[in-house]
Symmetry: C2
Subunit: 168 residues, 2 copies
Amino acid sequence: MATELYDLTVPVFIRGLKNLSALLEKGAAFAAEKGIDAQSLASAQLIEDMKPLTAQVQYACDTAKGTVTRLGELEPVAMPDTEQSFEELQARIARTIALLESVPRERIDGREETPVPLKLPNGEIPFTGRSHVLVFSQPNFYFHLVTAYALLRQAGVPLGKIDFLGGA
Amino acid sequence: MATELYDLTVPVFIRGLKNLSALLEKGAAFAAEKGIDAQSLASAQLIEDMKPLTAQVQYACDTAKGTVTRLGELEPVAMPDTEQSFEELQARIARTIALLESVPRERIDGREETPVPLKLPNGEIPFTGRSHVLVFSQPNFYFHLVTAYALLRQAGVPLGKIDFLGGA
């Protein structure tokens, strides 16, 4: 049986965010253990004109939230990007997971061919529900998850691919 | 209409690999322009115990190839990880895309509930076709694509998110 749109979004995002939460936990524990300033780890960047770890977490959350909001035509829920600490990032992830868990399957399924454009500052990409998820949401969500992993890994946090993928 | 397994794999991987190819082209052009040794860019790492750019490309290719091989019960095609230069990496990507393009939709569709285990050195993960793709193949594929992006971006190659996502 082919895969419903809900199953390509809500559980995929929840799983990814739970894995991200576990990565951040290891990051915070590493900072505490090594006497590293957690704040400076949270604001680590790969290169100076690229967004820091805090923003990678915020954007991963926003991609998940924005995708289900647009697909399900839900009332937008604002989550301002104010987090600076690991604790605040964990709270943002928890809020996002709670929002995802509240989305009824019926709001998402069957919207594969429905126009679900992505509005950008300089225009609009005319996606359908399916292409929105496969061409934008999934790669963009993983982009921010993997960049968060890369930042923690580069800082020396003891992580392996299995931490990113999560348990089976 | 729900989404067929073929559409969650073959076109997703082809699109990602074409975007990866474009990232590497920009990397090679950057090295040439700045007089940087392309070989050292190709072997860049985020941290010394993490695989270099060459391996990220090889593993992305392998994830795509391995996924369709297992889902479609295709004859395995060996692609040894011997690439060292940008040209060789482009050839590996092209071979992988050609293989993906040769997979008939009928070999993939309808295998959502079929056992498609992932064999690992220390055991086997008992996936179905669907969970194999959503829990392993897609995140693992993007893991290597984004890590390749991160390596190029950190080296100063002028890339933005749109280069990773590709055109609409």
